[in-house]
Subunit: 160 residues, 2 copies
């Protein structure tokens, strides 16, 4: 067992409530937002704080309609993971540097989720032209923009 441990700290929190969706960056980290203007999307790394107790889970029962009976956690985007860090690509609506607020259309993060990092979405690092997928998810949408209008209700067969 590898016993090395590293520590991470929140740089802000996801807000998802009546005031819409936004990323609230803590005052001391707001200088790090300089120059984010112009990026249409960000990669957000955030902490799955509700799943910190499930790190020992390595496999899950068929999570999707056409998936195998058992799937390893690294083959899923499940919130249950050895290191509960989520990656979400979000569109940027506006940036308020003074208040540290980045408005976004939507996120699947729980209100109050700690944010660990923001990275600009660069096509040369993040956008794959020739994607290969297993048969069980090959019919899912081919673009981030099309995910919201896809009928996911039929895809999930075992609630996580």
């Amino acid at each position: 067992m590898d016993t090395k441990t590293f520590t991470v700290n929140p740089i802000g929190y996801v807000r998802a409530g009546e005031e819409g969706f936004y990323l609230e960056i803590a005052p001391e980290y707001r200088p790090a937002l300089k120059g984010l203007e112009g990026f249409g999307h960000l990669n957000v790394l955030w902490w799955l704080h509700l799943y910190d107790e499930y790190r020992e889970v390595l496999e899950c029962d068929q999570p999707y309609r056409l998936a195998p009976a058992k799937l390893g956690i690294f083959a899923t985007r499940s919130p249950v993971r050895p290191n509960p860090i989520a990656l979400t690509t979000v569109a940027v609506l506006s940036i308020d540097h003074e208040r540290g607020i980045i408005r976004i259309p939507y996120t699947d993060a729980e209100d109050g989720s700690p944010i660990l990092d923001l990275k600009p979405y660069h096509p040369c690092e993040d956008r794959v032209r020739d994607v290969a997928l297993p048969d069980w998810c090959a019919h899912w949408p081919q673009w981030v923009e099309d995910a919201a209008t896809f009928d996911w209700s039929a895809e999930f067969v075992n609630a996580q």
Copy 2:
């Protein structure tokens, strides 16, 4: 100052040496690789272990030829970050479940970099069709596949 701290542990290590590039997953985490077959690319989260001491840096001097004189760290993919976690999208060449080895064509990670998480690359979560970029990087390649043949030498003006 937010004093909350979370801990992460390596699930394996990046290997980059004479035997080529691969991700070596620790024995206890190998069951989590089940069902990864068929994914052409993975998102790898890894720890920038050489940059753990530079977390207080929030801005950098013009890192790219056309970038502003000062750029916030969250507007860059610099290894210097408040939480030194890197995100790299890699192509998968082969997976050896028994030995926990995932061969990849290349990575910019240092040999021995701790791996924190593997996630399958899903176009519906990771692939943006309509990308917007600031003027200073709009001429960079539009796809991961084209990054390797681009002449980056002229782009970096201040070594990190």
